[in-house]
Amino acid sequence: MTLPQSSPRAEGDQTVDVRMTVNGNPITMALPARVTLSDALRDHLGLTGTHVGCEHGICGMCTVLVDGDAARACLLFAIQLDGADIVTVEGLGRQDDLHPLQESFGRHHGLQCGFCTPGFLMSSYDLLTHQPDVDRADLPAELSGVLCRCTGYRNIVDAVADVAEAHRDGIPAPGNCGHRTMVGRTPAGGSGTGAGTSNVEAEAEAEPGGHPEEITLPSGEPTIRIDVTSELSSSPDEVARVFGDVRLLARCLPGAELTDDLGDNWYRGRARIALGPVRLSFNGIAHILEQSAERIAVDAQGRDTGGGGAQARIVMSAERSAAGTALHAQADVFLTGRIASFGRSLAGDVSRRMFEDFARAVDRAAAGDDPVAGSRPASAVALVGSALAGRARRRWQWIREHITRS
């Protein structure tokens, strides 16, 4: 543990930049002194896996690792943790590769309502890290720092005992730390910490009309990986016309709305998504990395007003096929917060369906029809479309000339 740096007096109504590492990501948040770590994680980083129960250190719901030791996030002010290394339950494992503790809690049904589960996971991770030889008989006392109101303690103790037995040499490190999707608040132009940790709204306020240097995608496994090929009846030249007209392309994504052209191939947009009773509203930015008659590559990130975050790299390519054009879409989508709590398969199905709808809309647009007619409600993909919209016309002219020449 390294000591924090000294810090000048900050009045109660003042915000202070707090730098810490959360699940392997360096982040910066501007916070008043009285904001607890648990509130900072939940409200400012969207990491709602850290639950808040009693808020005065009794229940243990908010247990996280601070510099490797379990601690109550409600009993720490975030401002105290300048330079600290925090691991939350989101950092413990991935949906397709759970930490052994998570897997064991599932196998033993060590969760009932699930509210205490993040606290128990982080507390037992700390226990088995520091006392890998812990006796089963000592587990109830050792785990007493977290309360389960369902009183499902037996299954919890069984789950932890199993992992302890299987990992007497120490349990595996958290499996989901590193460069992960996270949307936090950073000061203006916070490209130094990677756009993956910056809040687009905060940036917009701080830097009107500006954009970060790049969107840094997480290096881990995406939450959803999409690979869809749709057959369009339009010809590649017709599709190229849609690829080149970003406003038209964006209209192929219902629910999306372009709000700003930030220049240098950067866009800001909004997207509203309706899936049955589910309503999501995203604000985001996108960066067009590559655009040609047959290929578009985009990095995008957005924040759901309800506290979720999404980042994606989307590559669409068109090639001549027997029927007309094969539109190939590949996307790596990283989700955090409440939207990540959709099941992976549901989110994947919805996203795939949206690409198929998008492809149909592109086909209609390529044929000169209104792309919106008969479309379904928007999905998360729409965010990217919003960014594509409003592409500068001179760019299109360049492409048109290019097509004409070839």
Binding site: L3, P4, Q5, S6, S7, P8, R9, A10, E11, G12, D13, V16, P32, A33, R34, T36, D39, C54, E55, H56, G57, G60, T63, V66, D69, A70, A71, R72, C74, L75, L76, F77, I79, Q80, D82, S123, D126, L127, P140, A141, E142, S144, G145, V146
Partner: protein
């Protein structure tokens, strides 16, 4: 359950820290495990929190001149892991009882002493061992013995502008043995009653003292040498442990009546606490006695 706004400062030196503490309404923030709940429940609203965690000298843990010196920001868990703490066996016995691991990760030894909860373990340990507290202010530095340090529930002699910079626990000497026991409704709760015991068997006449906590507005120390000697007179100097415990329990009523001066509360009556003290006293003094005789024979093998 959110703290009211407060100003915050994190000085880098002891000098800057005590300067900040000179301001009105300033309060030290070390581990925060007692203070933050007070703030969250708005039972206290200090205008400024002076976070002392950036002062390197306050994070020192050392052994010198027969004492373990524990700096103001040394965490309870840090002390538990440090081999230097082995020189003060009572720390090893008492630390696991403080709250939970998650609390000890951040909670500091000095913070617990300065907070002075009447049911807390460390003030009782400090009292039983005659630990020394070192206080600093812009006015200078002073040392206060544990016997003079705790003045009541959550009250100590620390002045508002003073900082408890370190505590000195005396290293155990040969012929000393220790016991620690407490009883709480749930593991990690504050104790209904607890006993810290130290027994010395160097000379012909064994000495024993206990410090009881959870039974008054602060930990209460009592000399139980007469009770131990009397019990040993009955059962012999190398008794079976159950016999010594029984003999001590028979002599514990007066001590228990003397130390317990709480009126009782929803969790336990005064009579129940006296009963707990009687049981804990006999068990822990007995344990401490056997450890002290083992320690004495190790020190002078015949």
């Amino acid at each position: 359950m959110k703290a009211a706004p407060f100003a915050y400062v994190r000085p880098g030196t002891i000098e800057d820290t005590v300067a900040e503490l000179g301001r009105d309404g300033a309060k030290v923030l070390a581990g925060g495990q007692s203070l933050v709940p007070v703030l969250a429940m708005r039972l206290g609203r200090p205008s400024t929190l002076v976070d002392i965690n950036a002062v390197p000298e306050l994070n020192e843990l050392s052994r010198e001149n027969g004492s373990i010196r524990v700096g103001a920001t040394v965490r309870q868990r840090q002390l538990q892991r440090d081999d230097k703490a082995l020189a003060v066996p009572l720390l090893g016995l008492a630390l696991p009882w403080i709250g939970h691991r998650e609390i000890r990760s951040r909670g500091t030894v000095c913070g617990s002493l300065a907070h002075a909860d009447p049911s807390a373990e460390l003030p009782a340990v400090a009292s039983c061992l005659d630990a020394i507290m070192v206080l600093r202010s812009a006015r200078g530095s002073r040392e206060v013995a544990a016997a003079d340090f705790f003045t009541g529930a959550m009250s100590t002699v620390i002045e508002p502008d003073e900082l408890l910079t370190e505590v000195l626990f005396p290293v155990a000497r040969p012929g000393e043995g220790f016991g620690f026991g407490e009883f709480a409704r749930r593991h990690g709760d504050f104790a209904l009653a607890g006993v810290v015991a130290r027994v010395r068997t160097n000379g012909d006449t064994p000495e024993a003292r206990i410090t009881c906590f959870g039974i008054s507005d602060h930990a209460v120390t009592a000399d139980v040498s007469p009770q131990l000697r009397d019990a040993l007179g009955q059962v012999g100097s190398a008794p079976a442990e159950p016999n010594l415990r029984r003999a001590l329990a028979e002599r514990a009523d007066d001590v228990a009546a003397e130390v317990v001066d709480t009126g009782g509360d929803a969790h336990a009556s005064a009579a129940y606490r006296r009963q707990l003290i009687r049981g804990l006293l006999s068990r822990e003094v007995s344990r401490a006695y056997f450890k002290s005789t083992a320690s004495a024979s190790e020190a002078s093998p015949s």
